[in-house]
Amino acid sequence: MDLGAPTVLLVEDDPNDQLLLKRAFRKAGIVATINLAADGDAAITTLGGPGAPPTLVLLDLKLPRRSGFEVLAWMKGHEQLRRVPVIVFTSSGEASDIRRAYDLGANSFLVKPGKSEQLQDLVAAVAHYWFSLNQSAPG
């Protein structure tokens, strides 16, 4: 593990999407530690456990057990985790989902692209913005 490298918690149940996203990070040349939570409960266990919070959470909405919305609401109500940037990363841009995500405190809302190139571009843009430009809240 590269100390000082940003950490991403990817909350994603679809193994294909997990694989494609990890590949996109690698292809885009982003150095980051990607931890995985395959459902809402696992995300809360990981986030609530010991250790530093991740630099960024990439959160799918449709998840087994607790949904992405529930994870988001839980995080934004949590003393230590509420300032961790959460990017909702989901299949579709349904207006109701987008509104609800922002209402619950999401920091960004991105729709998963299908094409490999687009996914790499998206990952590069996310990394550039959230790992380089953005000032995260001091711990």
């Binding site: 999407d17 299949s91 579709s92």
Partner: protein
């Protein structure tokens, strides 16, 4: 003739008319009695100052059932339901007439045979020298009217109930449709993303290990997945348009066209595009209007002979309360007999290999404009180009 009891000459002085008529001559009295006799639909009769029946017309006989000789001389409380008569209601009505000059009511009254009917009645005083000498009572049987009103009320209630039921069913169907669309949006696209993503990955990472045929198969998988993804997105957009409420607000067409051109930019690189500056501001839903314009622009670019450089012009005309916006191209054009067909869902005039697409683009254009209170149309010359137009209210 209105029957009067010969034995009660005093009553014959009473004239059945409003106070002004109390000075009537004998001639006019006779005319008046003839008139009252002719009335069949109203019971018109007179009471003396104490409330006893003095005259009785054929309408009264028809409605209430008593013949003149049976009823004249009897007290008019005979016509009231026993409990009302016992409660002195008839006497109170006459008091009201004495005090206010008139009594008007709709209520149940008795017939001779004991049945009741719904009566609308007016009692007025007969005055002589400022003194109440008697009363005129005019009664109409409104049972049928009331029954009709009641029937209307029942029908209205029934209709309201059915509308409510139907609304509930539709609301439920709509909710189910939304849940369905939501599932399609999320779950149906995930495997497609995998097909697209992994065929891309295969091409990128292992493309050099495949021969030309292998790479072509791969690109066909990717294209198929992409076409299906586009179809799902278009269908979702169309169904969303049909079911979601659109809030209309002033939208600058300049801005919409700038955004739309940005969105179709990749396909308009080789296009001569001239857009009239200072396009008007219209009443619209921004995202929907943008989708409409994107679809029209991308069609203008798409349906182009391979050897022709696309030229697209956009301009607007002031049509009073609304603006008509034109988008013209120099493409393949459309025969007039297909004009209405092209706005229907899934209608295509060309094979996918010739000109790609899902057959939903113009259906979205039409539905979107309809939902914003607008219209769409076109003129076209096959081989020379099409001009699509849409109209929206000016903001």
């Amino acid at each position: 003739m209105t029957r009067r009891p010969e034995s009660k000459p005093a009553s014959s002085d009473v004239i059945a008319q409003a106070p002004a008529a109390s000075i009537a001559t004998t001639d006019t009295r006779v005319q008046h009695e003839t008139l009252v006799d002719a009335v069949q639909d109203y019971a018109i009769f007179m009471l003396d100052a104490g409330g006893h029946v003095v005259t009785w017309n054929p309408g009264a006989e028809r409605i209430k059932g008593w013949r003149a000789e049976e009823i004249i001389g009897r007290h008019f409380s005979t016509f009231y339901l026993p409990e009302e008569a016992a409660a002195q209601k008839p006497q109170r009505e006459l008091e009201i007439v004495r005090e206010h000059g008139r009594y008007h009511e709709q209520g149940r009254r008795l017939r001779k045979d004991g049945t009741t009917f719904m009566a609308e009645l007016i009692i007025t005083p007969v005055l002589r020298d400022g003194e109440v000498k008697g009363f005129v009572k005019v009664t109409r049987d409104v049972t049928e009217r009331e029954a009709a009103n009641e029937a209307i009320r029942r029908l209205t209630e029934d209709l309201e109930r059915r509308v409510e039921e139907r609304t509930q069913q539709l609301t439920q169907a709509n909710e189910e449709l939304q849940a369905f669309a939501y599932t399609v949006a999320h779950d149906l696209r995930a495997p497609l993303r995998a097909m697209q993503g992994f065929s891309d990955a295969l091409r990128e990472d292992y493309g050099d290990k495949l021969d030309d045929a292998g790479r072509e198969y791969l690109s066909r998988i990717a294209e198929g997945a992409e076409r299906l993804d586009q179809l799902i997105r278009d269908l979702l957009a169309y169904s969303r348009l049909a079911r979601e409420n659109l809030t209309l607000e002033p939208v600058a067409l300049d801005w919409i066209f700038r955004q739309a051109v940005e969105q179709v930019k990749s396909s308009v690189d080789q296009v001569t595009l001239s857009i009239q500056p200072d396009l008007p501001t219209v009443r619209a839903h921004a995202a929907t209007l943008q989708q409409v314009v994107v679809n029209l622009l991308s069609n203008a670019v798409k349906f182009m002979p391979a050897d022709r450089r696309p030229e697209i012009r956009v301009w607007s005309e002031d049509r009073g309360a609304c603006a008509r916006v034109f988008i013209s191209d120099n493409g393949i054009g459309i025969a007039a007999e297909h004009f209405s067909r092209i706005f229907e869902v899934f209608q295509r005039l060309h094979g996918v290999a010739e000109y790609g697409g899902t057959g939903i683009g113009l259906a979205i254009v039409k539905k979107g404009l309809e939902r914003m209170g607008g219209t769409v149309g076109l003129t076209s010359e096959p081989g020379a180009g099409s001009t699509f137009w849409f109209e929206l209210d000016c903001a």
